[in-house]
Structures are given as C-alpha cells and as structure tokens.
Amino acid sequence: MENRTKISISHVSKSFEDKKQVRHQVLDDINIEVKENEFLVLLGAGKSGKSVLLDIITGLDTDYEGKVEFSDGSRSTKDIGIVFQKYALFPWKTVMENVEMNQKFRGMGKQERKEKAEKYLKLVGLSGFENHYPNQISGGMKQRVAIARAFAGESDIMVMDEPFGALDAQTRYQMEEELLKIWEEAKRTVIFVTNNIEEAVYLGDRILLLGGSPSTIAKEYVPDMERPRKYTHPDFLELRNRIAGDFELVL
C-alpha cells in the first residue's frame, strides 16, 4: 500500500515570457512519483521554481508542458489542501470563518461546518480564538489557521509551500513537531516545500533537491531514521551536511 503512486508528475517543463518578450525557462523535465501517504519534501533555494511547481501540481497554473496525473482520476484545485506561503488568510474573516470556507463552498450546512471547523481548530491548538481576526493573532497562530483551513477541506493530498518560512526558530520547531503529529494521526499524502535543510531532514520520508537553471530534480535522499528525529543525532548531521554540500553545487 505504502508504495502505490498517488501523483505522477512526468516531463513537466515551464517557461514564461517577460515584459520584454524574452523567454525564461523555470522548470526543465521534472519527473516525480509521489507515493500514497508519503511525506515528500521539495528542497530548493529561493527562485528555484518550487512555488511554480506547486502551482502546476495543484492546478492553479495550467500553462505548462508535460503531465500531472492523479492515480484516482482528475482533480481540481479545491480537491487539494493547500497551505500558502505567508498564510494567505482572508483578513476580513474571523479565524473561524477562514477555516469554514472550504465547507461553505461545498454547500455544507451552518451547524455542520461549524463543528468541522472547531474540530480542526482544536487539532492545531487554536480553540478559543474562533472570533479573532487574523490581525489580532501572532504569526505562528496565523500559520496554524492556514493549516486548519487546508485540513478542513479533508483532502487526502496536502501541499504546503514554505509554511513555516515566516516563523521564528522556536515556533518553527514546535510547528514542525505538531505537523508530524497531525500527519501521523491521520496519514495523507503531503508535498512540503522548504528552503531549510534541517526542516527537510526532520520532516521528509523522501527529500528531492531542486536546483539548476532551469530547475531540475538534482538529487534524491531517503532519510533512514526513526521519528521523531533528533537534530543532534550523528545520522541527522551527516545527512544534513551531505545535502548542504549538494545544495552549494546546484546553486
């Protein structure tokens, strides 16, 4: 079961034309088989086309070459849970209303969607903040709202674009730990994008290093470590250093 392919990304290339009509190629022949319930990390520096690739996988961007196929038939954007960079919460909606949006547009009744939203807010530890506006809570809490909103869609595929990038180190560690906990409780396929090597090693079942210009999949790593992983464990450090070395090369 673990090895069944969930998403098949084959020969995906992307280029765009800038204002001066010069073509830039961002992605070149990307091939990824994402396994069912896998925690896949896409690691890459800034501007390595990670977000572009995510937009392609989630169907937000349809202008590309190649194929993205799902093992269980076609999917539209709303059938994938997405956690965006910098939260992308709706500032005029309360925490509760933000999390409820998924159900709202699926035509779920008020009472039912309230219960759903409460369940996911509890999961991310935000019970009691339902009626706050995003402006009134901290960055870490906003991130959790964004995660709850994505989870509330109850998709079996989650895509997260540098979700913890804007957080301070302490909150970041805490969020990584919580995310793994949530994922282990209810397994689903996760594609997690980051530029942080430690985060990648801590979280990933498999890590794909994106790099070059245009970007390709430069390396693949499979951390052979029990969870929860220790940042100070020799195996952790060894893999971290190996990736750091490759990271320099593909820049």
Binding site: T58, L60, T77, L89, P91, W92, F105, Q136
Partner: protein, 258 residues
C-alpha cells in the same frame, strides 16, 4: 497616572487649539468690527437665524436642505461609482475604454459644470444634485478601482483552493478586500460633495447654507457670512466623525487591531 494624563491631553488639546483660534479672531476684530464681526456677534447671529427665518427658512432648515442635496447626490455617486470602479478594476477591456474618458472629465472642477448644467436642467434641485454628484463620484470611482487592483493575488489562489467560484470570489474576496479603500473613497466623496453643494448654492439657490453666505454678502451682513462659514466647518467635522464611526463598523478587521 502617566497613562491617564496622556488620555486627558487628547481632550484638552483640541479645546485649547480651538480656544486659541477664537481668541485670535477676537483680537483681530477689535480694529474693524464692521467688516470682521467678533465671535460673540457671530454666535448671536447664529442664535438669531436659528429662530428667525431668512428666506422662509431657519438655520436648521437651511442646513437640512444642503445636506439633503449632498446625500441624494452621494447615494447616486456610491451606486454609480462603485459599479464603474468594479467594472474598470475587473475587466481590462472595459478599463481601456472607460479610463481615458474618465481621465479627461475628472480634472474639470464641478464648479466649471455649473453654467452648462443650469443651461440643461434649469435652476431647480436637479441641477444642484448633478453638480454635487460630479464632484462626489470621482473619489469613489478612483478608490474602488485601485482597491480592486490591489487585491493580493495570493488571496485569489487561496479562494480557488477552498473552492470559491467566480461569484463567490467577487463577493467574498474582491469586494471585502477593496472595502477599506472604497470606504476611504466614500469619506473623500462626502466632504467633496459638501464643498460642491456650497459652490452650487452660492451661484443660484433660495435656500441652503451657501445661499446664506451669498445673502450675507448681498446685504453687507458680515456676521451672516461668518455664521455660514462656521456652520460649514462644524457640519463637515460632524460628518467626518460620523464616517469614522461607520468605517469602524464596516471594516472591523482593520480597526480592532488598534
């Protein structure tokens, strides 16, 4: 203690600054009270016209007449301006067609329209409302348009990811995101409208605050002129205060963080 003292200052300072203004005014009047009436004379005049009608209307009626003109023009400007702003912000083709025309008409001051409007619509209520409308609609169109253009593209992606269709995206994302900007436009619109109505009334009217000023000029009654001016300032300040309240109610997510 320090906290409380700071709060007190917010109440004391405005009273102080207005007090100084009135004192300066009083000092200036000493020389030529016939062309520059004293504050006391103006207050007396205001009290007088509040009870005794000029041109068949007491001061409150004149204020209400002016306000009525502003509000009907403002209501029309809101509907028309918001719709036009949305269309221009949302449909690039419509923007390309409408924007040049708007840009040419926009810099023409509402007062410059007065002769033409009178020629077309006579000197009745319609003319005044149209003149106010011309002034009031511009800030609403501009702010609605820029509000819609400035919606964070990430929010469109987020809307798509939670399954919002085109309609839902418009009403749940685009409009609320632009609302602070639209409300700011409405504030400017109302104060511009208030300025325009006075200009319109000064040219031709039998009632309204602008008319009072002209009547003061015609009859050499400087106290009446200044009464009209004071009333304009006070009413305008009240409108602004009211709108700030409305803004808090309309955009709670922006104000509750303070």
């Amino acid at each position: 203690m320090a906290e409380k003292g700071k709060k007190m200052i917010y109440y004391i300072l405005p009273v102080l600054s207005i007090g100084i203004l009135v004192v300066l005014w009083g000092v200036l009047c000493v020389q030529k009270p016939d062309i520059m009436p004293t504050p006391a004379a103006v207050i007396k005049k205001i009290a007088d016209i509040t009870v005794n009608p000029i041109s068949n209307a007491t001061l409150p009626v004149h204020i209400l007449v002016s306000l009525g003109r502003v509000l009907s023009a403002f209501a029309a400007a809101c509907v028309f301006g918001i719709v036009l702003g949305i269309l221009m912000g949302w449909y690039p083709t419509f923007h390309d067609i409408a924007w040049p025309v708007f840009e040419i008409i926009r810099p023409i001051p509402p007062i410059a329209w007065i002769p033409l409007i009178i020629l077309w619509c006579g000197i009745g209520e319609t003319s005044k409302v149209i003149i106010v409308f011309i002034g009031a609609v511009v800030p609403i169109v501009l702010n609605t348009y820029s509000g819609i253009r400035q919606v964070d593209p990430m929010l469109f992606k987020a809307a798509k990811s939670v399954g919002a269709g085109d309609r839902a995206t418009m009403f749940e994302v685009v409009l609320p995101a632009s609302l602070p900007s639209i409300v700011a436009g409405m504030k400017t619109s109302l104060s511009t409208g208030w300025m325009c109505v006075l200009a319109a009334e000064m040219v031709v009217a039998r009632q309204g605050v602008g008319f009072l000023i002209v009547r003061g000029m015609d009859s050499g009654d400087s106290a009446l002129i200044l009464s009209g001016m004071v009333v304009i300032g006070v009413v305008s300040a009240l409108i602004t205060a009211l709108l700030n309240r409305a803004e808090v109610k309309l955009c709670p997510w922006r104000t509750e963080q303070r």
